[in-house]
């Protein structure tokens, strides 16, 4: 277990270093991305721009600039170029929104994906299976921004059943929080439900043909017990690992479209706005933050894996 933790920690450091270098270099390559120009503002004289360039260190070699920026990131002093706001504080403020979105949607898509996948597999080839397959394909191919727009138009703008975007903190008003989160949860979940139900279906159809399922049947236990104890449990393993990574990506700012469409001030929305302003520090921090969660949750998934499947040992 200790060795597992150390190995994961090392791989996390490697991933974060690589991701941060890549992000930093991409912004160097983007045209019209001179940070001194942006900090100085539109009406600045060349002298001011030059002064800023010197005080911020933009005239130094790239690796020096990278080192300076990374130092600021890890001391929590990194500020955005365009707004001079502390990026870490911004992300801290946005995190509860993103967590609300990710946890709610994550539970919805995991549960419904498994349920629809099981139903589909049990009726494989039948009418219900075909119906669910069509629904899954529609869900997978509907863009989030389109689904969000449709939901907002009909359920918020036209009928007023749900609020037209925005966020209310859970600690301020739990009922309003739930009320504001329902549409974003649906919009974000639909794609994943479709995808997960397909994965679950094929996983079950693979497991059904395993020898140990035949053994289970030969024992004379009920078909229901065969399905629940022997088939579904073994079929869950690939779905759980997928879920960990998708969930991590959403927390790390991956729900840019959903957050923008519903005007949720989350991490993804913050990243989207920063990218629009070609503002390196916030983007860099959000990307590293997302990578951290992906690596972290893949470790969590491995632990879950070991619990679900005793053949897997963490130390080996």
């Amino acid at each position: 277990m200790v060795r597992f933790a150390i190995r994961r920690l090392v791989s996390m450091i490697v991933v974060l270093a690589a991701i941060s270098v890549l992000t930093f270099l991409i912004f160097q390559a983007i045209p019209n991305g001179d940070p001194a120009q942006r900090l100085a503002g539109r009406t600045a004289t060349p002298e001011t721009v030059a002064a800023i360039r010197r005080t911020w260190g933009f005239d130094k070699p790239i690796y020096d600039q990278y080192a300076i920026t990374m130092k600021k990131v890890f001391t929590g002093k990194v500020v955005s170029y365009t707004q001079s706001l502390n990026v870490v504080d911004e992300i801290k403020r946005d995190l509860p929104v993103t967590f609300s979105l990710a946890i709610g949607a994550g539970i919805i898509w995991l549960v419904l994906g498994i349920v629809f996948g099981v139903l589909s597999a049990l009726h494989a080839g039948g009418g219900l299976d075909r119906g669910l397959t069509v629904l899954a394909l529609i869900g997978i191919s509907t863009p989030v921004f389109f689904l969000a727009a449709v939901l907002l138009y009909f359920l918020a703008f036209k009928t007023g059943v749900f609020p037209n975007g925005g966020y209310v903190s859970l600690t301020d008003d739990p009922v309003q929080w739930l009320y504001h989160m329902i549409l974003p949860w649906i919009a974000l979940s639909v794609l994943f439900i479709g995808f997960y139900s397909r994965v679950m279906r094929s996983s079950i159809l693979d497991t059904v043909n395993e020898d140990y399922v035949r053994t289970a049947r030969s024992k004379g236990i009920s078909e229901r017990r065969v399905m629940v104890r022997h088939v579904v449990r073994n079929s869950l393993i690939p779905v759980i690992s997928l879920w960990g990574l998708d969930f991590a990506a959403i927390i790390g700012g991956g729900a840019i479209l959903t957050e923008s469409a519903f005007n949720l001030p989350g991490v993804g929305n913050f990243a989207a706005q920063s990218i629009g302003r070609l503002d390196v520090p916030p983007v860099l921090v959000v990307v590293m933050f997302g990578a951290f969660f992906v690596v972290f949750f893949s470790a969590v998934v491995d632990v879950l894996y070991a619990l679900l499947d005793p053949r897997i040992r963490l130390s080996s």
């Binding site: 020898d211 140990y212 053994t215 049947r217 030969s218 024992k219 004379g220 236990i221 005793p310 053949r311």
Partner: protein, 307 residues
């Protein structure tokens, strides 16, 4: 030898099993008739695809599916296994007729403890036995099947056991409700040669203790000679030869049986230049051969497809 006048324990008559596949109808079992007496060991011999496993699985009710057609009758103590309802079959499976499969590496659920899997079977047929008592029974059965330190190892997972030990677990599990019939589907094929004989002996001894009749599906004539009272030779889904060991080994009537017997190499005979083999492949059962039905007279030519 069985007394043919008394009602047999298991009476299979004109069993036919066919499966609808994308390529056409496969006649896997074609008019198979045999009897099994109390405590008798019957060997079902034949090469891969001769329908011996399907016969065993059909008796367990494991081939039932919308794509399978099952005809004939198979009466266990007068009760027809082929027409029994799914619920009746579930009560019979495991309790009256149990099965051991070919590959012990995949036959146990990898994510459940041995104890869980054995207790599940015991409690499926004896729900009044509580978990603790069922676990004790499982340990006792494992010890009788030759698993040392069973009390400690009952909590292990299948991957912590070797192939031979897993097959012993399967045997212990199959015997846990003292069934009247045990179907052993090539129980030693996937095991090391060194433990094959041990496993066969465990099966035979346990079945004698429990007075369980055995249908030993195999393609190994050595196994037949070791454990069987009678043998039944299958070829292309049909029974081509049936009788006591002496009849089958020393007075074989069918050319396929000659071929099988001829392909054994013996340590007490001069070594042949090449291992004798039956040429070609067994016929495809998609278009089953017509010429050689039950073969009343010895046929000279076996219907085999050439490579």
């Amino acid at each position: 030898m069985t007394d043919r006048t008394a009602a047999p324990l298991l009476d299979v008559e004109h069993l036919r099993v066919s499966f609808r596949t994308e390529d056409g109808v496969v006649q896997a079992v074609d008019d198979v008739t045999f009897q099994l007496g109390e405590g008798e060991v019957l060997a079902v011999v034949g090469e891969s695809g001769s329908g011996k496993s399907v016969t065993g699985m059909t008796l367990m009710g494991l081939t039932r599916s919308p794509n399978a057609r099952i005809e004939g009758s198979a009466r266990l103590r007068g009760k027809d296994l082929l027409t029994a309802s799914d619920a009746e079959m579930r009560r019979i499976r495991g309790a009256e007729i149990a099965m051991i499969f070919q590959d012990p590496m995949t036959a146990l659920n990898p994510v459940q403890r041995i104890s869980t899997q054995m207790v599940e079977m015991i409690r499926a047929h004896h729900p009044d036995i509580d978990r603790t008592k069922a676990t004790m029974q499982a340990v006792e059965l494992m010890e009788r099947a030759g698993i040392p330190r069973a009390a400690e190892r009952v909590r292990s997972f299948p991957h912590e056991f070797s192939g031979g030990m897993r097959q012993r677990v399967m045997i212990a599990m199959a015997m846990s409700c003292s069934p009247a019939v045990l179907i052993a589907d090539e129980p030693t094929t996937a095991l090391d040669v060194t433990i094959q004989a041990q496993i066969l002996r465990e099966i035979k001894e346990l079945c004698q203790e429990f007075r369980t009749a055995v249908i030993m599906v195999t393609h190994d004539l050595g196994v037949v000679a070791d454990v069987a009272d009678r043998a039944l030779v299958m070829y292309a889904g049909r029974v081509v030869e049936q009788g006591t060991l002496d009849e089958v080994f020393y007075d074989a009537q069918h050319p396929y049986t000659w071929g099988l017997l001829g392909s054994i190499t013996r340590i007490d005979r001069p070594r042949p230049h090449r291992l004798p083999a039956i040429p070609g492949l067994p016929p495809s059962l998609l278009n089953a051969p017509q010429g050689c039905h039950s073969c009343p007279e010895p046929a000279t030519q076996l219907p085999r497809s050439r490579r």
